[in-house]
């Protein structure tokens, strides 16, 4: 990946972490509510966990991560969506869990086989926002903006399908196409968060704020505003906590989200 310096002050790494998480807060505020409303948390967690397999294989074969990750994650997302779709008509949901765990197993195995310097598997599992380079931040923002733009472009269709997919079809909406579009959007959102929050803990950032937003709001706009507000608060407080208590950012953010979920 080409290194682009983005540290404008002595606090460059903190700033990179903050900027990256800010992009994550934005995309989570737009994508998270749809994941929550459509009960795609399990599928999304499957995508993020199986992503470790893609990372491991890419590193093992010396493939450029920046070129491989986007298409591979999108394919993974579509595959997971297909499995989830099938599970509704009777096929066991275990297929999604199997892809998830096999993906992780492949990732761990591949990372163990890589010769020479390998990035710590733990940093992919739990993220490390303080080790992000300028190009990492730009990569994450590119993905966040793409996913956010897609949500805004197709907001009404995605919402109509979330409310009642069969009614949406009766209205002439391409429900199946919108479902797979949502899976692609989720894949991009997951990828934008992988380096800062890790494949395991990012799911809290995507699912907890909309769950609180749903409880607190009277209408759909309220849910999205609550989610955005919680995300921004969580990023700021989580980053502060991480610096004060010498915690990984993802861990601090998870604690903040858990606290908010209980309190609100």
């Amino acid at each position: 990946m080409i290194e682009i310096p983005l540290d404008w002050s002595g606090l460059g790494l903190v700033k990179n972490a903050f900027l990256s998480l800010l992009g994550g807060a934005l995309v989570s505020a737009l994508v998270g509510p749809f994941m929550f409303m459509r009960r795609l948390g399990f599928v999304s967690a499957g995508i993020s966990h199986a992503l470790l397999g893609v990372i491991g294989v890419a590193l093992l074969f010396g493939l450029p991560l920046s070129a491989v990750l986007v298409p591979a994650t999108v394919v993974l997302g579509l595959f997971m969506g297909m499995l989830e779709r099938r599970s509704r008509s009777g096929a066991p949901e275990v297929a999604v869990a199997l892809t998830w765990t096999v993906g992780m197993a492949i990732g761990i195995t591949a990372l163990r086989q890589v010769k020479g310097y390998v990035p710590d598997a733990m940093s992919y599992l739990f993220g490390n926002a303080f080790l992000l380079s300028g190009s990492d931040v730009l990569f994450a923002w590119g993905l966040s903006l793409s996913a956010s733009l897609a949500v805004l472009l197709f907001f009404r269709g995605l919402l109509a399908c979330a409310v009642d997919e069969e009614f949406a079809v009766s209205q002439g909406l391409p429900a199946r196409g919108l479902y797979y579009l949502l899976l692609v959007i989720i894949s991009l959102a997951v990828l934008s968060l992988v380096k800062s929050l890790g494949v395991i803990l990012m799911i809290a950032m995507l699912l907890v704020p909309p769950a609180i937003g749903e409880r607190k709001s009277r209408g759909i706009l309220g849910m999205f505003l609550w989610t955005l507000g919680i995300n921004l608060f969580t990023v700021c407080v989580g980053l502060w906590l991480a610096l004060r208590m010498d915690l990984p950012v993802s861990v601090a953010i998870t604690f903040v989200l858990a606290g908010l979920y209980i309190l609100l």
Binding site: R38, A160, V163, D164, G172, I220
Partner: protein, 257 residues
């Protein structure tokens, strides 16, 4: 029957879920401006028939035409009230936003309610007497209110044909009667109404014709003795004829009870 007069035409419709045939050679026509009630025992395929007509599920064989056209070409003229269980309780919409969903015919765009759509939504809600629910969260509305919100959602685009899948299930008697009076009023304005109901007694007071479905169409007409025997056969139990020549009440328990 003149082609121009026909609102709905179903011809030799077959639907199956995997190996299991749910609908078999169903054929019927509904004239414009008529109110038809569809009855049948549980599992008879009534909801499946609606879903097949509306293109929600694929058909194995057969043809459906609405106003002489393929359904996809006339969706803006079709209103649909699905069973209430179909709506997702995880989506926090106000009742006004829920009604506005009936105007979403294209996937793009951000705003759910704008100036012009808000007027239409308020008008549709006023028809059902629920205009005061506009800003009320849908999830907190009562069952009867939710049912009326879903009917308003179907009416918001001024459809010419309305499909209702048990719209009066779980509502109290006055609400049920009000719904039927509204439907009758809409029929008077030229709307074609196709409605599934279990309440044969109330249905029989309002509909012009009735169809009895049990995997295949066992009866389609205006009622009378022929319907009575068709229903007895479909429900596998005797029925009594009370009002308007329509079957009203099951007299005996099923043999296997």
């Amino acid at each position: 029957m003149s082609e121009r007069k026909i609102a709905l035409e179903v011809e030799d419709l077959w639907v199956s879920y995997g190996e299991s045939v749910v609908l078999e050679a169903v054929s019927f026509r509904v004239e414009r401006g008529r109110f038809i009630g569809i009855i049948g025992p549980n599992g008879a395929g009534k909801t499946t028939l609606f879903k097949a007509i509306l293109g929600i599920i694929p058909v194995k064989r057969g043809k459906v035409r609405v106003f002489g056209e393929d359904v996809d070409r006339v969706r803006d003229r079709i209103g649909y009230v699905p069973q209430m269980v179909e709506t997702n309780p995880m989506v926090p919409l106000t009742c006004g936003e829920m009604v506005a969903m009936g105007l979403v015919a294209r996937p793009w765009g951000v705003r759910v309610l704008s100036g012009s759509t808000e007027d239409k939504v308020r008008r549709a809600m006023a028809l059902l007497g629920i205009e005061d629910l506009f800003t009320v969260p849908y999830k907190t509305a009562s069952v009867g209110q939710k049912q009326r919100v879903l009917i308003a959602r179907a009416l918001v685009k001024d459809p010419q044909i309305l499909f209702l899948d048990e719209p009066t299930a779980s509502v109290d008697e006055p609400t049920e009667t009000n719904v039927f009076y509204l439907l009758n009023q809409l029929k008077g304005q030229g709307m074609t109404i196709v409605m599934i109901s279990h309440d044969i007694g109330v249905l029989s007071q309002f509909v012009d014709e009735i169809a009895c479905l049990n995997r295949t169409l066992v009866y389609h007409g205006k009622g009378g003795e022929e319907l009575s025997s068709a229903i007895t056969s479909a429900y596998s139990c005797p029925v009594d004829l009370i009002a308007h020549g329509m079957p009203h009440r099951v007299l005996k328990r099923h043999e296997d009870d």
